[in-house]
Amino acid sequence: MYRAHVLVCGGTGCTSSGSARIIRAFEEELRETGLQDEVKVVKTGCFGLCALGPVVIVYPEGSFYSRVNPEDVKEIVDEHLLKGRIVKRLLYTETVQEDQIKSLSGTDFYKKQKRVALRNCGVINPEDINEYIAYDGYQALGKVLTEMTPDDVIDVIKRSGLRGRGGAGFPTGVKWSFAKASVDDQKYVCCNADEGDPGAFMDRSVLEGDPHAVIEAMAIAGYAIGANQGYIYVRAEYPIAVKRLEIAIGQAREMGLLGKDIFGTGFDFDIELRLGAGAFVCGEETALMTSIEGHRGEPRPRPPFPAVKGLFQKPSVLNNVETYANIPQIILKGPEWFASMGTEKSKGTKVFALGGKIHNTGLVEVPMGTTLREIIEEIGGGIPNGKKFKAAQTGGPSGGCIPASLIDTEIDYDNLIAIGSMMGSGGLIVMDEDNCMVDIAKFFLEFTVDESCGKCTPCRVGTKRLYEMLDKVTKGEATLEDLDKMEKLCYYIKDNALCGLGQTAPNPVLSTLRYFRDEYIAHVTEKRCPAGVCKKLINYSIIADKCKGCTLCARNCPVGAISGTVRMPHTIDTAKCVKCGACVEKCKFGAIVKK
């Protein structure tokens, strides 16, 4: 028995900030102090507070250490694990108040969260199936196989109100019932782990932190629709997720939880991995299945829908990672429990990846219907450097911007659509007054131009032309008629593109035009970028009264655009200036301004 557990985050965020070295340091240090049989070191999935990584939690005290360096490990072992003295200087500051140490669940970041899909992330060792089993793992599969008919399962999922977490929000139970209704000798269950939205990483965290939840849910789906084979399509850029999935599938097979005759019920189910090369379009369901089949990942027209003719032309169900992660708990706790969370039409919880101009960058899971204000100001800890909130971008390249005036919107599928954005996979990028909305739209459009597979013209050519028009706006070369043309083109692409990628690609442009038209107009008529981002439209100049002639700016200018004599006011040659801003940073007198 171990009297203490040291949990070290092994998610991608903390791994890249060196958590593997911390684990090694703990193991070495524990051996040296002879504590190796009393204290267990566990590598877990993501805790969610990626901004504070690498993160270490020590139980039974539940002490939350943040930004731990390998050099700190000796102190934690000597003081905390040997002598029982918590190392306060390393604790997450939010957990220490007036010298009282609060539990992690009492901090602002965690207290409003409700972890369903993420319930095991940061709690269990994802590479040990026994720890998943200790937290009721595979009980739902057992219940389904021994007590329920496939129709019962579908009925439970339908009544729970679960909708697809990949973005479009289609009711999962309905999708399963279509696939069950299709008659064929072979059916398939697929998992979409091709998470491609810039800024979204919740699927990766689920796979890294709780891979068995996805495996168990896919087996349940297989039983419900009558499939004995599953495929997980995961991008090769997620090496940790791939490795943990491989380990998890291997362990499940070894224990007989995958394979032939599971629990002696005669039900067979197995899963294989397919690695994607990272094309964004392969997150679209028909393109994903085409790619699993071994062809170039291009979408095809629907109908027929995958529930009728999907993978290898057989009836198939495709769900997103986060959707699957909810399934075992819906089976165990009942559809009523799940439906008690959320709003009228969007049940349960949703995981958001918080990024951009926000204190607590990381993963949060909240009940549907939580307002944007709660997520950004309370859980996220607000905007750094005293800046003002300007907008939040949801849904990645398919979504749109939510302006500050709508910060009290309750977030669910339908409300987001109503205000011109969408849930998407749950990336939430926060922007402050220093972000130019035209530039943001251009950024996302550049992404879709790159990622368009090229099969249909509206997407391949349309997004490119749209990008060029945006580029003109950011250079101050557009006219007001161009704005109208852009809007028209947006609707044309939406109506005519073959798949979801093209149909949603203009959303970032449309939503910024809707809420921030004045910014577009400022670029066009005044040739001015209000946020001071678009380089063509800004100029640096030196205020002669404030300049002391210290020459610091001139010495730091990479292109030699600043001239002047010592102790005399300097000047900037705007023709040479590349607008890098180095001079502003160096000037000690605030004499250089950006306009």
Binding site: R3, P60, K83, R85, S105, A134, D136, G142, L145, F263
Partner: protein
């Protein structure tokens, strides 16, 4: 694994090892004084004895942890047992053998081992 019953048995076995990670405060806490004075007086073997004995007997809802010096250095090694809703019991001058007896008498059977407590030692 051939049946659901087998899975449930494995779950129950594994659960014991995971209880430590819950925020549940319903546990009986066994706190061993591990400051310099405690360590010098032999608190390490006492702590190990508690851990081993609790594991051997497969006891649940017991948290074994350490603390610093509580100021009665002449009585080290000091071990305190804190049960929710009951008065704290302080054992003094502990040894691994005494620890085994405390686990059996106090933690399993619920009888405080009066002869090892600070009240008995102070007389």
């Amino acid at each position: 694994m051939k049946s659901l019953a087998e899975l449930q048995a494995l779950r129950d076995k594994m659960k014991n090892n995971m209880g430590i990670r819950s925020d549940d405060t319903g546990n009986i806490r066994v706190v061993v004084g591990m400051a310099t004075c405690g360590i010098a007086a032999g608190a390490r073997p006492v702590l190990q004895a508690f851990t081993e004995e609790v594991a051997k007997r497969n006891l649940q809802n017991i948290t074994i942890t350490q603390t610093g010096c509580i100021g009665i250095c002449q009585y080290e090694p000091v071990v305190e047992v804190m049960e929710p809703g009951k008065e704290k019991v302080t054992y003094v001058k502990m040894t691994p053998e005494k620890a085994v007896k405390v686990v059996l008498e106090h933690l399993v059977n619920g009888n405080v081992v009066a002869e090892y407590t600070i009240g008995a030692a102070a007389k």
